[in-house]
């Protein structure tokens, strides 16, 4: 048992960190299939439009993360690309520092993909559930 408990305390989660507008954001790394400088998939979406109402200050993405389409049938390998910005880094963060979104906020969030929060380098990081993210409307690749 002590071994098991020790293993749990040391558990890490691999996350891909990026920016959505001015906000530091992360996805679990196992859901990110690739990263490109330009959109190559048939379907894309700017993360900002999926997460919150950006108003007039939508930040254009400069990186594209390829994700499997969670809404597609399980035997379908279709993918889409999420447009993000800022520095993209791969980080192993301790599991016990990843917090679920407070209960009161669950029913009021703009996107159900917003599932938790953590802190990295004294900065709040929004944790997204990749399985809840999908391009609501098919879009042509941005140029």
């Amino acid at each position: 048992m002590p071994l098991h408990r020790g293993h749990h305390e040391q558990a890490q989660v691999a996350l891909v960190l990026f920016c959505v507008g001015p906000y530091r954001t992360a996805l679990e790394a196992r859901h990110v299939l690739a990263m490109t400088d330009h959109p190559t998939a048939l379907r894309t979406a700017n993360a900002q439009t999926l997460l919150y109402e950006g108003g007039d200050h939508e930040t254009p993405p400069n990186r594209w993360l390829t994700l499997r389409d969670a809404q597609a049938a399980s035997d379908n390998n279709s993918t889409w690309q999420l447009g993000v910005s800022g520095d993209i880094t791969l980080q192993q963060l301790p599991a016990n520092t990843l917090y679920p979104l407070p209960k009161l906020l669950l029913s009021r969030r703009f996107s159900t993909a917003l599932c938790g929060l953590t802190f990295h380098q004294q900065q709040l990081v929004l944790l997204l559930d990749a399985r809840k993210l999908h391009p609501s409307l098919s879009q042509a690749p941005c140029s």
């Binding site: 507008g21 109402e53 009161l104 906020l105 029913s107 009021r108 969030r109 703009f110 929060l117 929004l126």
Partner: protein, 186 residues
Amino acid sequence: MTAEFPRDGEANDQPPATQTLGEALAAHGDAEAVVDIDEPTQQLVLFRLNDQPFALPGSAVSEILSSDQPVYYVPGLPASTEGVLHLRGKIESVISLHQLLGLPAPEGNQKGMILLVSAAGITSGVRIEQLDDVSEVTQSMLQAPPETLSGTLRPYVSALWQIDEQEALALLDPEALFDAYQQGLG
């Protein structure tokens, strides 16, 4: 041989205050009426929003946090959500009650304290503008909300406390507040 003891009042040559037996008993009776240890009391946390007096049950307020407690903004939430705070290994939401209670948003950037409120299995910070007191109030001082109470406040007020002739304090029901917030109000 008899010994004479000085009576009260003789030591300073002042005549003792006189009182009838009836007055003495009545005074004793009055004292008992004021200190009725059997009357149930309730602890209230008294505060102000938009300069109006409100209270929450002390049993629902686990902590009073200072105004300099860092609150982190989270996008994609309604304006009544100020953000989250990181408190001893937990993340808690911080909300404002103004919109829910039909009060105008506070002006300026000066922020008051945060009450950490728990109800219905939910814990959240509630921003207040001014903390007035933490007070023990007898149940008899709390009255049922009158019919004339505004429809906006009525669902969230469990009792009124008439502080004086000028001012009545509204005791808020934290469970009703959280429930309404979750349903998209405020």
